[in-house]
């Protein structure tokens, strides 16, 4: 039997029980169960500081926060790659990893700070995004194998957003027009809309809270373009994109007289449903705008499977 793939899992603050992306966590766990991928949370992992914490963090404290997770992963889950599902966690952690690998001084300072928590970062742990694990370690063919319910008849606007795409991105993809989300949709039997225009537009990110009007202008463009492309729903790899683009549609409607109600889902939910999960296992109960078409497929009874 093939050896089970095992990773040091960094879920991040939004992917916790009853947090804002709790249904992302549920669907990722379900997806990984079908793909025989073992995720072990890094014991006592902490917040990455996100991109928005800069005013208080300065430089070193931010790196130290990320390095604490690396050190914990190296100690408790040696040899396993760290896998993040949140775009900001992944970006923050990867940036720290690159900085520490490049500067002996920064690494020494980081370890001096970590010593206060009884830890040491050895520079071994690799930092990856779940999408990288899917595409690079399992491959599109591997991802197609468990499909029992192709997502036929659903049109998906693949909204990649910012931080899963820039500045690091997925290897081999362009910053302006990444194709992996569309390919993933097609792998699951859904219809991708590669001409969706706002694929990599910023939703405002954390500034959706502090600058709501400016951010909602961005969100309006993202949603409008999905309708223009004929999408049934939006799919994204980022928990903040998901939240922003879903929950503010109603606000925009009330202020601007639009009638937006397009569901915003995670790639992991699509995969969970295509692999035969129940709506609950796919986290479909975690939406303000229910992804009805996905739900219909999830409750459909499939003919007896082979083997």
């Amino acid at each position: 039997m093939e050896k089970k793939r095992a990773y040091a899992f960094y879920p991040g603050c939004s992917s916790q029980l009853r947090a804002s992306a709790s249904n992302y966590l549920v669907s990722v766990q379900t997806m990984c169960r079908y793909l025989d991928v073992k995720l072990t949370p890094i014991p006592d992992w902490n917040c990455c500081g996100a991109s928005i914490g800069y005013a208080g963090s300065g430089e070193l404290a931010r790196h130290v926060m990320n390095a604490r997770n690396f050190a914990l992963a190296e100690r408790h889950l040696p040899g396993q790659d760290i896998v993040a599902t949140c775009a900001a966690c992944w970006l923050g952690a990867r940036e720290t990893k690159e900085k520490l690998d490049a500067s002996a001084q920064l690494l020494a300072d980081t370890n001096e700070a970590l010593r206060e928590a009884g830890l040491r970062y050895q520079g071994r742990a690799e930092v990856r995004h779940m999408v990288e694990v899917l595409i690079e370690d399992l491959g599109y063919e591997g991802l197609a194998q468990p499909v029992v319910k192709p997502l036929e008849g659903i049109k998906f606007a693949g909204y990649v957003g910012c931080q899963t795409n820039r500045p690091f991105g997925i290897a081999g993809e362009s910053f302006e027009n990444p194709m992996y989300l569309d390919r993933l949709v097609e792998t699951l039997g859904g219809e991708a809309l590669p001409r969706y225009e706002q694929k990599v537009t910023c939703c405002g990110g954390a500034l959706a809270f502090s600058e709501p009007e400016k951010s909602q202008k961005q969100i309006r463009q993202i949603v409008e373009a999905a309708y223009d492309a004929g999408a049934d729903m939006i799919v994204t790899p980022c928990p903040l994109c998901q939240a922003n683009v879903e929950i503010y549609q109603d606000e925009i409607n009330r202020r601007e007289g639009t009638r937006f109600a397009i569901p915003v889902t995670y790639y992991s939910q699509l995969m969970a449903v295509a692999y035969g999960a129940t709506p609950k296992e796919a986290g479909l109960d975690g939406h303000l705008i229910a992804p009805k078409k996905l739900h219909e497929i999830a409750v459909k009874v499939v003919p007896a499977q082979k083997g």
Partner: protein, 209 residues
Amino acid sequence: MGAADLDPAARARYGTDFLREVEERVEEGQWVKMCMQCGVCAGSCPFGPHWEHSPQKIFMMIRAGEREAVLRSDAMWMCTSCYNCVVRCPRKLPITQIMHGLASYAERLGLAPKMQPTRRWSLLFWHNCTRTGRVNELRLTLGLYFMGGFVAGLKKAWAMRRIGFGLLRAGRLNPFELLRGHECRDKAGIRRMLAKAYELEAKRRGFTN
């Protein structure tokens, strides 16, 4: 002549040479002189129309020694961290990080615009997540709403009630976070480690405040 917000040693060291001050005291500040003023960053910014100064302008102002105007600008606080400017910059300047670095430096010197909403949000976020090691989303959101006072907070919370109840129904908001949310076990260790990090950064950059 020198800036009143600097300690005497820094004032003597930098005088009117603001570029050198930025190079030595701002994260990634050493890149500023590499800007060739093409303006791609300004055109790539999602919040471009809302800035007082684009990154392109900020970089030129730094070189021109317009210290006060740069550090008091609201421009850095408009960064959404989308990294569009970073990947498009032909000189590969880490513009997002420089903007964050300038914002953080302005905050340290007490020159950042006090009521700028993202400045307050950024500080709130960092304090929230470092207190227990993990973000308490409910306290964070309510903290933002109630920043302008109790009555303003109630109004804001009321205006956002539909989203709040929607998230509650969807299992994505936990009212008990108000009492106690997710947190790390080794909170004390995190606190000690961060105190050391602040101390070391101040030493390396020559900060006394």
